[in-house]
């Protein structure tokens, strides 16, 4: 929807003027590095955590990874694991996998500081089926191609939050606009044919990963997405930090989610 509004406004501006861009040389303030935690517990894989530091905005070097942390993931059933450092800044459990209805705890200790979070693993969202529709193109929104459509059921008796992750030919779609989350406040129980805006060609594979996420994770991804898509224009709100769910000022999010995959091949 947002994309639609932006597109529309741009078109209006284009017709009324000639909007152009110019790179500005702004001297930006610098801050002390802050810790960035990307922690994921799902029902399909062992828990993993990525740790790094923020970098100055104009830096072109990759952010510095954190290799000296103690990372512990546990649940309310008494399971606990200290994650192993597998790669630079990448920690993974060899024992803990997400189970629906359990509460998960995260503790990260770095340089004498402790960062904590906890979340309940939400129930599973069932994907009913995937399909696709052919558009010949030339209608502004669609170029020529096959567009995947999603059919799934949103349980009406609970507040649910979803994250949609797409793969085309087993490659993750990873543009900032591909970060898609939604709540179910105004979703119908039956979502019959939600269209994904990716034109596919014959023989392409399309894979959908539907995540049930927590409210906190939804807020974090929603904020992050609006930050990434903020164009500073008239309808934009002031850019702001994505509010995470980890204590002690850590950036990032402890994402505890259950997920399901489905795929199709265009024939």
């Amino acid at each position: 929807m947002r994309k639609g509004i932006v597109y529309f406004l741009n078109l209006v501006l284009l017709l009324t003027s000639t909007a152009c861009e110019k790179v500005l040389d702004v001297d930006l303030n610098e801050t002390d590095p802050k810790i960035v935690i990307e922690a994921v517990v799902t029902n399909t894989d062992y828990a993993w955590v990525k740790l790094s530091w923020t970098t100055n905005y104009y830096d072109t070097a990759l952010p510095e990874k954190i290799n000296n942390a103690i990372v512990v993931v546990s649940d309310n059933e008494g399971n606990m694991d200290t994650l192993d450092l597998l790669d630079k800044g990448f920690y993974k459990s060899s024992r803990i996998k997400g189970v629906e209805g359990r509460i998960y705890f995260l503790t990260v200790q770095v340089d004498g500081k402790e960062y904590k979070s906890q979340s309940l693993l939400p129930g599973l969202a069932p994907i009913d089926s995937l399909s696709y529709q052919y558009y010949p193109g030339g209608d502004l929104l669609h170029e020529e191609g096959y567009y995947p459509t999603i059919y799934f059921k949103d349980p009406k008796n609970s507040e649910d939050y979803y994250m949609l992750v797409y793969y085309k030919n087993n490659k993750l779609l990873n543009k900032p606009t591909d970060l898609q989350v939604t709540d179910d406040k105004n979703l119908q129980e039956l979502i019959a044919g939600y269209e994904v805006f990716y034109p596919l060609q014959l023989k392409d594979t399309f894979k959908l990963q539907l995540n049930s996420i927590t409210k906190e994770a939804f807020i974090f991804y929603r904020d992050l997405s609006s930050q990434l898509n903020n164009d500073g224009g008239l309808t934009s709100s002031p850019p702001a930090n994505a509010q995470g769910n980890i204590s002690n000022g850590a950036l990032g999010c402890f994402q505890v989610s259950s997920l399901k995959m489905d795929s199709l091949i265009i024939k």
Partner: protein, 784 residues
């Protein structure tokens, strides 16, 4: 109570004081047009005594003076100068009939100017509608709001935006009135033009301070716009064809006592997409236009009883290939009745209606939807002017308003929609204002205008109120209270004293002071860069307290060279209680608990404004310079630290100049400069998943580049020609205007954002978007 008695005592003393000194004679009268209409704002002066007065709304004036023989002169825009010798030996009342000046030129330069020193107005600016038409205009369309934006103390959002900010107040703190009816969204084309057609305006006055007690409900300013009400006797009109807009307005008389005005304006920017889609069927079929229709009917029942009906409808409609559509509409109506009860007492009754509605539609398969919001207002105002004696003129009255707010509807438009509808409850409010003020000449040097407005506001049912557990900001709703239709849900009161005074140092110099207390009971929830039509208006309620402001101002006014040069300097300090802002990433769309997104605190602003205006036979020039600072401190925003308001600009300078090169050729230009507005940029970045997030450590900590442009225009007035073969023999007066906007092609930042460098995704950059460079335009208007 004690304070109240003291105040009464003080006023009583003032009355006595004036009576002791009233030993001169009183020269009073009425200035009217040849159709018996009282002329407001005409300057009546007695040359030898160097004394003058402005006529009030009914055309009445009064001057206290010593006996003698004087040259009486009366000036009023659009009328021929009236000059006559008068012998004044005793109290006398006369009636002056002004003859209309068909050419409507030149005479205006003299109007009302000496009054700048003499009247009690402080913080008041009027748009010079005559000069405005000569100035260069964006896309050739003269826009009154663009001229308001060039006044001292007024800030803009950015290029081509018709929003404005007065003395540190947000955009929703301006009360914009079109023939007494409020306009809730005053822009077309997302801000490029304002909704006001300059061809039909009679007067445009901005009150930044010293706001008359008859107005209330907004903290920072009143922009009072009135349409033409003259009775031309024959059909006159003006047809304008510009680069972006066509318009036609006609005025005429139905019978001797009834006159009308009809005006239509339409943009023609949709011609380009229309042509494109007819040539190439693959091009999107687009509807892309706005229109305005203004009508006004004046009728005189008698010399004492007059009424008018004014109607306005303006609409923006954009539809691209039926995929996107965006429509917004303003509709207002006013019924006004003026009745002279007796020589001293005049009654003014106004019924007003105003409605703003916005729709946005997106039509894509099962996710198709339509989004709607709006506001509607019914108002009535009964106003009295009572000329107690030549030293005291009272103004008192009562006004009532009822409003319906539609904060949002989300309507799925596909039969198989994935969405369920969301309909936020309509909200209702009613308010009442009672006011009284007195304009008093205390002595030859001192004049005062003081009064009080008392307002009561009620948030009314039918509606729901949430009860929160703990702080409202945490948004834990534990209970809901339901209210029946018209049941009061929450009541607020406001005492709004206003006072302004003038002390005449000598005939050409005066100093003035003012104090204003204002209360605002409705708020536009806007966390966007500029006001946009999807911004929602909300009434005050339990969790949204009224915004209140104190403003003190002082000014020095000077007139030089027989008023050919006029200078003023004003300084002000304004403090705002319950100023609104929003938490980070506030969700202001379709949120039933909207109040949980609001954060409240204080705002304050101070500044100094200079204004210089010089008029000679050939040149009209004005210069305004403002230094100001506007800050907010809101709990829950910017880590509770003070920050600059997004419309804070340290310096702004506006220069307007018009020069009659030859009798039929005029050149005009304006230069606009202001400090760049504040913006928020990241201090650090981080990798998360496949994206790069930004870390912000302060709100509005950076500034956009300075904003400036120079615009030039050449005006050509060909000789009048008498058309012989038309049934009505009327002279056609043509005016050609060629203008260039942004002559030196400055790239002014329209907005700024951050993005990945195209070649190196690890590199980030700050990018500005700019709109217009060298925008030429041509406009032709024909008066008949």
């Amino acid at each position: 109570m004690k304070i109240f008695l003291k105040v009464v005592h003080f006023f009583l003393l003032l009355f006595l004081y004036t009576n002791v000194f009233s030993q001169k004679i009183e020269f009073k009268g009425r200035v009217k047009s040849n159709t018996d209409e009282g002329l407001t704002g005409a300057l009546v002066s007695l040359k030898e005594a160097d004394k003058g007065a402005l006529t009030d709304l009914n055309g009445n004036f009064s001057i206290t003076i010593e006996k003698g023989t004087y040259t009486l002169s009366v000036f009023s825009a659009g009328y021929k100068d009236y000059i006559k010798k008068v012998q004044l030996d005793e109290d006398v009342a006369i009636t002056i009939v002004m003859e209309e000046d068909i050419t409507e030129l030149n005479a205006v330069e003299v109007i009302s100017e000496r009054t700048n020193v003499e009247n009690t107005d402080i913080g008041v600016n009027k748009v010079d509608l005559m000069q405005m038409k000569k100035l260069p205009a964006l896309l050739g369309e003269v826009d009154v709001i663009k001229n308001v934006q060039m006044m001292p103390g007024v800030q803009v959002t950015g290029e081509g935006n018709a929003g404005f900010y007065v003395r540190g107040g947000s955009a929703d703190q301006n009360l914009i009135l079109l023939d007494y009816a409020p306009i809730y969204y005053s822009s077309h084309l997302f801000g490029i033009f304002s909704v006001f057609n300059s061809d039909i305006l009679k007067s445009v006055t901005l009150y930044k301070g010293g706001i008359p007690v008859e107005h209330g409900g907004r903290l920072s300013s009143v922009l009072d716009i009135k349409t033409k009400d003259n009775r031309p006797g024959k059909i006159t009109g003006i047809l304008t064809a510009g680069t972006g807009i066509y318009k036609l307005s006609v005025q005429g008389q139905l019978r001797s006592k009834t006159s009308y005005m009809v005006s239509v304006r339409r943009s023609i920017i949709d011609i380009l997409p229309m042509v494109l889609s007819s040539v190439d069927p693959k091009q999107p079929k687009s509807i892309l236009f706005f229109h305005d229709i203004n009508t006004r009917l004046n009728h005189d029942f008698s010399a004492k009883s007059k009424m008018f009906v004014s109607f306005y409808n303006g609409r923006d409609h954009y539809n691209i290939n039926n995929f996107f559509s965006s429509t917004y509409t303003n509709t207002t109506g006013t019924l006004g009745w003026k009745y002279l009860i007796n020589e001293r007492l005049t009654s003014n009754t106004h019924f007003v209606y105003s409605r703003f509605a916005y729709r946005f539609g997106l039509n894509v398969g099962v996710s198709a939807f339509e989004l709607r919001n709006g506001i509607e207002e019914y108002g009535i105002k009964q106003d009295f002017r009572y000329n107690l004696n030549s030293f005291n003129a009272l103004n008192f009255g009562i006004s009532g308003t009822y409003r319906n707010y539609s904060p949002g509807k989300f309507i799925p438009t596909d039969g198989n929609s994935m969405f369920s509808p969301i309909k936020l409850d309509q909200l209702h409010s009613g308010d009442l204002g009672v006011y009284v003020s007195n304009t008093q000449k205390v002595s030859a040097r001192i004049a005062l205008e003081y009064g009080m407005r008392f307002s009561i506001f009620n948030r009314l049912g039918k509606g729901n109120e949430y009860i929160y557990d703990g702080a409202m900001e945490q948004a834990n709703i534990v209970d809901t209270i339901h209210y029946k239709s018209l049941e009061p849900m929450k009541t607020y009161y406001g005492f709004e004293p206003r006072i302004s005074g003038r002390y005449l140092l000598n005939e050409n110099n005066s100093v003035k002071l003012s104090y204003d207390r204002m209360v605002q009971y409705m708020h536009m929830l806007s966390n966007t860069t500029a006001p946009v039509p999807q911004n929602i208006w909300m009434p005050s309620a339990t969790y949204i307290e009224p915004q209140k402001s104190h403003q003190v101002a002082a000014g020095y006014f000077k007139s030089l060279l027989n008023n050919k040069v006029e200078f003023s300097a004003e300084t002000y300090y304004k403090h705002i209680q319950n100023a609104l802002d929003f938490k980070d990433n506030a969700q202001l769309s379709l949120n039933p608990a909207m109040e949980t997104e609001i954060r409240r605190g204080f705002g304050w602003s101070y500044g100094i404004e200079f204004y210089l205006r010089a008029t000679t036979k050939k040149v009209t020039a004005s210069l305004s310079y403002t230094w100001s600072k506007s800050q907010l401190k809101i709990n829950g925003v910017n880590n509770d630290k003070a920050y600059f308001a997004s419309y804070d600009r340290r310096n702004s300078l506006n220069v307007l100049c018009s020069y009659d090169l030859k009798p039929r050729i005029n050149i005009a230009g304006n230069f606009v400069y202001s400090t760049g507005r504040p913006m928020t940029l990241p201090a650090a970045k981080y990798n998360y998943g496949y994206v790069t997030g930004s870390y912000y450590h302060e709100r509005n900590g950076y500034r956009m580049p300075d904003f400036h442009h120079l615009d030039l225009a050449v005006n050509y007035y060909p000789k009048k020609k008498l058309k012989k073969h038309t049934p009505i023999k009327i002279p056609l007066e043509k005016h050609f205007s060629f203008s260039i906007y942004n002559v030196y092609g400055r790239r002014n930042a329209y907005f700024v954002y951050t993005r990945d460098n195209k070649d190196n995704p690890n590199k980030k950059e700050v990018v500005m978007v700019y709109l217009f460079r060298w925008l030429p335009s041509i406009t032709v208007d024909i008066k008949f």
